[in-house]
């Protein structure tokens, strides 16, 4: 590997490309050649540095960490001469304050600890040397040459790492089972079917640090005695698939995948499989069925995949984050990892914060942090300074937790006891304007649609739940609905085949538990306290606020608003479809919801 004294990272996201990023790269290389610096300074591509809208095309120079923005090819001659030949920073192109690196993943916020996300936005995902430069593949090399498979498994066991896909099964134990299983070949499978709405941690890792996942998988393969791996990635992530394929190709070229890795007798290769849009394929047995080319339907466990998995062979399934964590554990030791987190939950966890919170995006925090710290310190509080109402954790199979749960430590057990789940790490924050019955209905719509249809409790049960919730939201709830919902939830939970059905009632159960008054208001008073459910609200124009500007009338899709110019307007409630456009376009806050 050649060493360079400086590296220039050039953003090549689509917008920077449109603004001429490649012309900048060409100009840089030409100038470096012309000024005799090409052996000392290396130009690399990176995903994005600053907001390309403001800064593009921009570059980052290391080791100084100087960010130059809004460059044109004709600036490059001067820039290269000043910065790299004379060693003077060119102030006029420097972005003064440290910019927010991107919308999804800014600089670490208070209380964040980046383990899995440490390389995201820092290294070039399309260049394996960048990964190697930050100790990449060192853990694999060390495992193969200095450790027995049993020692690798013991280290992972000692670290306390638990499955980051959501269920939290100890990773080392899973590997032990797969290793002990009789049968050959064995398979290592990466679950990259990150289907939970609002969760995009895995996408970001795959797109920004794919080699960490490949390395983790190779270590797992060495530990359990496998030679073939599959990464099952959802089709909604085309960019992640592309990045993975490039990474696999490069790892093969470097002898880090393929036959006799690093000259040892350990061989391992990988293939990417793409999903085709089915949420249930995130369930491990359904995922295996899908790799085999069938409908992605789960089957009963046991036998677990560790005994009978892909093509009936012993298989180890972990998710993206779990694999990406493994190399760090082997590199820094089990003790380092287990020093973070709580008694039963070690290490860090990535979350995608979404909804009505100020800082949306990805975060990585130590296990055991409280929900309050996540929302108000890492997340910066509720948008528009509204009140907090609930946080939904763990995706569509998770529950909604109210403000009384804000001091709950985030770990598998605490969230489970409170009626929610850790899940893969989606967190949706909801403010006071959210109707919890509507939210429950919304999640049920999702699970009902995504139920694969194999077992009756899930297929029929979720449909019944949805029907009742829809009725309540339409103002036709009746006495006894709450009790029926509770009974259905109980039965679906108990009798469903896989995690999808068993978790499906969580949003309903948790909202019934914590926000029962809202259900009662809908059913008995025909009133939606958050003013969301269309059947129970009415749009009105406040006479003294309306200036008669006619904007609302012109934008109304059903011509329900009448009135003379410069005279107060009136909404005809019978024609109004309650789309809310008038409220949105009114510049005088004259439209209200009753």
């Amino acid at each position: 590997m050649t060493f360079f004294r400086s590296h220039i990272l050039v953003s090549i996201d689509p917008l920077s490309q449109a603004k001429g990023a490649y012309e900048i790269i060409d100009a840089l290389n030409d100038e470096l050649v012309a000024q005799g610096l090409i052996d000392e300074v290396q130009v690399l591509e990176t995903s994005r540095i600053g907001d390309p809208e403001i800064y593009g095309p921009d570059i980052m120079v290391y080791p100084e960490g100087v960010h130059y923005a809004k460059l044109a090819p004709e600036d490059i001659h001067f820039l290269v001469k000043e910065h790299f030949l004379k060693g003077r920073v060119v102030d006029k192109f420097v972005v003064k304050q440290i910019p927010k690196s991107d919308d999804e993943l800014g600089p670490p916020k208070p209380k964040e600890v980046r383990v899995v996300l440490r390389n995201c936005g820092v290294i070039d995902p399309y260049n394996i040397e960048d990964y190697i430069a930050v100790d990449g593949y060192m853990a694999l090399a060390r495992s193969i040459s200095d450790m027995t498979p049993e020692e690798v498994i013991q280290t992972v066991l000692d670290s306390g790492l638990r499955g980051r896909g959501g269920a939290g099964f100890p990773t080392g134990r899973k590997w032990q089972f797969a290793r002990a299983s009789q049968g050959s070949p064995k398979y290592v499978i990466c679950n990259a079917d990150e289907g939970d709405p609002g969760a995009f941690m895995n996408r970001r890792v795959l797109e920004s640090d794919p080699h960490a996942v490949l390395e983790g998988m190779a270590i797992a393969a060495y530990a359990i005695g496998s030679n073939q791996g599959y990464i099952y990635c959802r089709a909604e992530y085309p960019e992640a698939v592309r990045t993975l394929k490039i990474a696999i190709e490069q790892a093969r070229e470097f002898g880090l995948l393929g036959d006799n890795i690093l000259g040892s007798d350990f061989s391992f290769d990988l293939e990417v499989r793409m999903g085709a849009g089915a949420f249930v394929c995130g369930e491990e047995t359904a995922l295996i069925a899908s790799i085999e080319g069938s409908r992605g339907e789960p089957r009963t466990r046991p036998p677990f995949p560790a005994v009978k998995g892909l093509w009936g062979q012993p298989s180890n399934v972990n998710n993206v984050e779990t694999y990406a964590t493994v190399p760090q554990i082997l590199l820094k030791g089990a003790e380092w990892f287990s020093s973070m987190g709580t008694e039963n939950c070690k290490g860090t966890k990535t979350f995608a914060l979404a909804g009505d919170v100020k800082n949306t995006g990805l975060i990585e925090v130590p296990m055991g942090i409280t929900l309050r710290e996540i929302i108000f310190e890492v997340g910066g509080g509720i948008k528009h300074d509204k009140g907090f109402k609930a946080i939904q954790t763990g995706g569509p199979m998770g529950g909604c937790l109210p403000s009384s749960n804000l001091d709950l430590p985030v770990d598998y057990e605490s969230l489970g006891q409170a009626g929610s789940i850790m899940g893969s790490g989606g967190m949706i924050v909801m403010d006071e304007d959210t109707c919890m019955v509507d939210i429950a209905r919304f999640f049920m719509e999702f699970t009902q649609e995504e139920s694969c249809g194999k077992c009756v409790p899930c297929r029929v049960g979720t449909r019944r739940l949805l029907e009742i919730l829809t009725r309540i939201c339409e103002g036709e709830g009746k006495d006894g609905d709450i009790e029926t919902l509770e009974m259905l939830c109980e039965q679906i939970k108990q009798d469903s085949l896989c995690g999808l059905g068993q978790g499906a009632p969580n949003p309903v159960e948790s909202t019934l538990k914590h926000f029962r008054d809202e259900y009662e208001a809908h059913i008995y008073e025909k009133r939606c306290p958050a003013k969301v459910c269309r059947a129970m609200i009415r749009y009105e124009i406040l006479e003294d606020m309306c200036t008669g500007c006619t904007v609302c009338a012109r934008n109304c899709p059903v011509d329900a608003i009448h009135g003379e110019r410069r005279q107060p307007h009136i909404i005809d409630p019978d024609t109004c479809v309650r789309c809310g456009i008038c409220l949105q376009v009114c510049n005088f806050s004259a439209v209200t919801i009753k």
Binding site: P197, F200, A235, E236, G293, A354, T434, Q584, V585
Partner: protein
């Protein structure tokens, strides 16, 4: 391209060959054919089954299981609206209703003139800029109900 001016069987044979004609490649094969033709016509499913030696019933059951495959022809423009919770909470519900009102279509329907197909998409992982709508390959973020007519008017 529509199936009328494209030889469905030729497309199928090309794709199957690319994937080595293996039965375990059924999903990638169906995906590719779906992408090339726009949907999976009956004759395509039959030919795939014959070539990879898989019963018609299984090919059909797989083709109808995954949401990214469709056995019905679609409109000239396909609108995909993200129906996921973060978009929903960020005002997606109003946008979704506005699109439906404007086009007179419900989820999964194609307009009579063959111009629009309206479907929901599962989370695209772009939750930072929700609500998200995709018209063909064009992504629109932070969509509001009042922008809907203007966005739709860009397509002929």
């Amino acid at each position: 391209m529509t199936p009328d001016n494209m030889n469905v069987l030729e497309v199928v044979r090309g794709v199957v060959e690319e994937h080595g004609g293996k039965a375990e490649e059924l999903i990638p094969i169906l995906n590719d054919v779906n992408r090339t033709i726009g949907y999976l016509p009956k004759e395509a499913l039959e030919e795939i089954g014959r070539l990879v030696k898989t019963p018609k019933s299984k090919v059909s059951s797989v083709a109808t299981f995954y949401t990214m495959m469709t056995t019905k022809p679609r409109g000239r423009h396909v609108i995909q609206f993200c129906e996921s919770a973060p978009c929903h909470v960020a005002g997606g519900r109003e946008v979704w209703l506005a699109i439906q009102d404007q086009l007179g279509l419900e989820d999964g329907e194609t307009s009579e003139d063959g111009k629009w197909t309206l479907i929901t998409a599962s989370c695209l992982g772009l939750c930072g800029v929700g609500p998200i709508m995709l018209v063909d390959e064009d992504m629109y973020g932070n969509v509001t109900p009042s922008q809907v007519p203007e966005i739709l008017a860009r397509y002929s």
